[in-house]
Subunit: 270 residues, 4 copies
């Protein structure tokens, strides 16, 4: 995320809502370049990570994973208001962003983490990264159950304190989340989604729940704090990687991503 | 709101989410009784208000208005997270709760307040109480416009920081609010509503907006703070009253309330 | 406040803690110049204020007052965590910054405001701007009382929710504030002070009070929100001005400021 | 902590500031009784912990440790405002409360934890429980250094985000903390202390730091969340125990506690 630093949002400290935002690889060139020249203010010192990663390849992989971790951090700890230690957390969608969310929730005081994904591989990965449950919603449906029932059962009828929509499937997840949030629970929408879904207001009002949108990873001390968490060994981002490709295989990498079975697919430029 | 003080919600300080909540006049008797015996913890000392109201009748009217004011206070300052001084506030629905919201917003640093109601009387009342605009959404529709266009225009294209749904018409207001919130804006649902409405996630996520449900007025220092605001002359709740009935006219009072043209309709027990 | 936008504090959104901060008139030239060239990001559009101020002189005076208002805004609403509507607020020191604090507290939901200053003129000004009490601490001492006794008495023994130290006299005020904060009360230090004072920890711990330092007015939407408050007529900053000097009288202006009897002393460059 | 539920503090949800608070073992009988009858609202269901503790003795030990854990939870996550994941945390004093603080900080996203205690045993225990450093301040003094220098060095000159005073030695720790907090850092006073110490305001103001007092463990979901954290295996409170005594040895237990070398000393009633 490249913020201008001059618009009203930036001057308010809301860099992720920059009115002239540029995204490397989307609106600005550089995503698969060997080098990309960027403004000093988008660069972070990784020296501290050398303690953990002796190999340069690993260091760069960790660096590349800060973007999804940063989005998850922003969603959970900035826009979402943080995880109350002891909270029950549900993550819908165990792709790279969902898995990063699980990793951070596990490291930051969640007492139970429930992951839902349609892919068995991703559910296994979720468990390996810290989830207590990795469940396929279709399996629940087959048994005449659903994700909201599962969440209510696992939380002794109290509901989950935080539920993150990282599946890009709001039309299916929102009504389930709506029914399985705890009192003062938070539903976080993570990542851009061009869709809408019906929200029931009675549980929202009765329980004083909230829905929060989140995007980006700029500002708020997000990157320096993630660097600290990795340097301290509190999180190990390389666990998110399930496939590696050379640059000349980049199209295969994109192809593979369409299977929606992986964690992070990494392309090595050199 | 009569909270038990023992359930997990109560012990967390979330009295409005009490798991055994009783409501005077709904689940517990007492709403139109001359006297009602209630637990000490539901009673507040009104001595301070005698400075403002010399007549006992006025004192009791002010006391009776603390409930809608308390709901508005809870929505704006507890669940809604407060009004950043200088904020633009929109209130959909200028009934008793909406008007109480306008009154508090005006007293607490809102820079512009826009009220929308279908009743001309209520829009006039909104203006008298502190709104900068009191607009009939149907008038906007006739001109080919809508509430979201109006809000965007009046806020120089930035959107409103806070929008309160107090109209009980979520199916019509939510899509309008969705399009006219500022970055980091908050949509507050105030009052119980057995309905649902479609929410668009793209603006929610892009702007890091939030939707918040609110109900009740217990706890959080709400009543003592409202007593202070009235005692200090910061707000004058009696301005909310547009009709007064004797107890033997109570059915007329209910009849009148169905017109949806009034502020608070007051029934005097004795 | 001129923040770099590149250091870690700036990238976190904490512009007032910029590690390379420059202050116009202190570390950077420009305070009494006819024109000063500054970076775009330090400029704000005042068009909205033309509705209120038809004369250019008034417009510039209002603009010049945004700095003390911004410091007060930052202290009360950013670092201080906001004024709970209905709060009792004490301001120690009714110089320009203290008066700006009173003005904002009055506009944003304080139920009682108590000002303490050694100057009768300033106490009168405090009352004119919105304080409920403007008291000389020495007068209290003569009667065998003190500011903490006065605060406890005026707040019915509950103490004040917020107390702002804007007197630059911490060695005298802190012990008084310490004894007259309410439960969960906040003591805010506003403005730079090269001193120390003894803090008693028992009341701090028992009541879960907090002490907060605040400086600066950059970021956090402070300036745009103050512009909105002025444009809406919620606050009228020109009331803070008690003396005006031409530029060739600037030394007289400085001389007068040493009397510590004024609100804002304004020097007109042209 | 036995709160009344009726006073203004309790009705605000601030049970730890109850105006009629009773403490089991201090103002109310029961601390070393075999059974104590208490109000339902002070009781929590421990069934969930049976998954972790098969032995009843262990279960009761874990239960007994919720009080110090609750005080630490309240200090860090309620009054202190939470740990930003990636934060550097310093704990002054590694007695039972300090160790509980370290245990929670480690489980909830702290990137580095520095413990200071005069006892070698406690510093070792701090390390075993999750601290990255367990240092004797006197050893630093011998080398011409001090705790603030150590903190600044270990944090690359940025200072610690949170520093907890759990040593009951404010007169020695405060000046050190004052000089080694990060920008927007928080100093938390945990536990009652009848003393005062000199606070320097310049760093407080320049860095927008805060001092916070905390006591108690009632309300705010503290106990149910700690039960969840233990049940989930996120924290293991029994690690805090360094000595066990039978009830007929209770005076030896008290004697031992005066050595200030232990974690929690446990007395088994039966």
């Amino acid at each position: 995320m490249q913020w201008c630093g001059v618009c009203v949002s930036c001057r308010t400290g809301h860099f992720n809502q920059c009115e002239k935002i540029e995204l490397l690889g989307f609106s600005a060139p550089g995503a698969f370049a060997t080098y990309a020249a960027v403004n000093e203010k988008y660069c972070w010192d990784l020296t501290e990570l050398r303690k953990v990663y002796k190999e340069e390849d690993q260091l760069f992989e960790a660096a590349a994973l800060m973007e999804p971790l940063g989005c998850a951090y922003n969603a959970l700890f900035v826009e979402g208001g943080g995880i109350t230690p002891g909270a029950y957390v549900v993550v819908h969608g165990a792709g790279p962003i969902g898995l990063a969310t699980i990793m951070l929730a596990k490291a930051c005081g969640a007492a139970k983490i429930i992951a839902f994904d349609l892919s068995e591989e991703r559910n296994q990965l979720a468990l390996a990264i810290g989830a207590d449950y990795g469940i396929n919603p279709d399996d629940l449906l087959e048994k005449g159950s659903c994700t909201s029932d599962f969440v209510m059962s696992v939380t002794d009828g109290r509901g989950a304190d935080i539920q993150v929509e990282a599946a890009g499937a709001a039309s299916q997840t929102v009504s389930q989340i709506n029914r399985s949030l705890s009192s003062h629970g938070t539903m976080i929408f993570l990542g851009r989604e061009d869709s809408s879904a019906s929200v029931e207001f009675d549980p929202l009002v009765t329980q004083a729940n909230r829905l929060v949108g989140a995007r980006g990873q700029a500002g708020h001390g997000i990157y320096p704090n993630i660097i600290r968490l990795i340097a301290a060994g509190v999180i190990e981002p390389l666990k998110l990687i399930t496939a590696r490709y050379r640059f000349d295989e980049v199209l295969d990498a994109f192809q593979r991503s369409t299977l929606r079975k992986d964690g992070k697919i990494m392309v090595r430029i050199s």
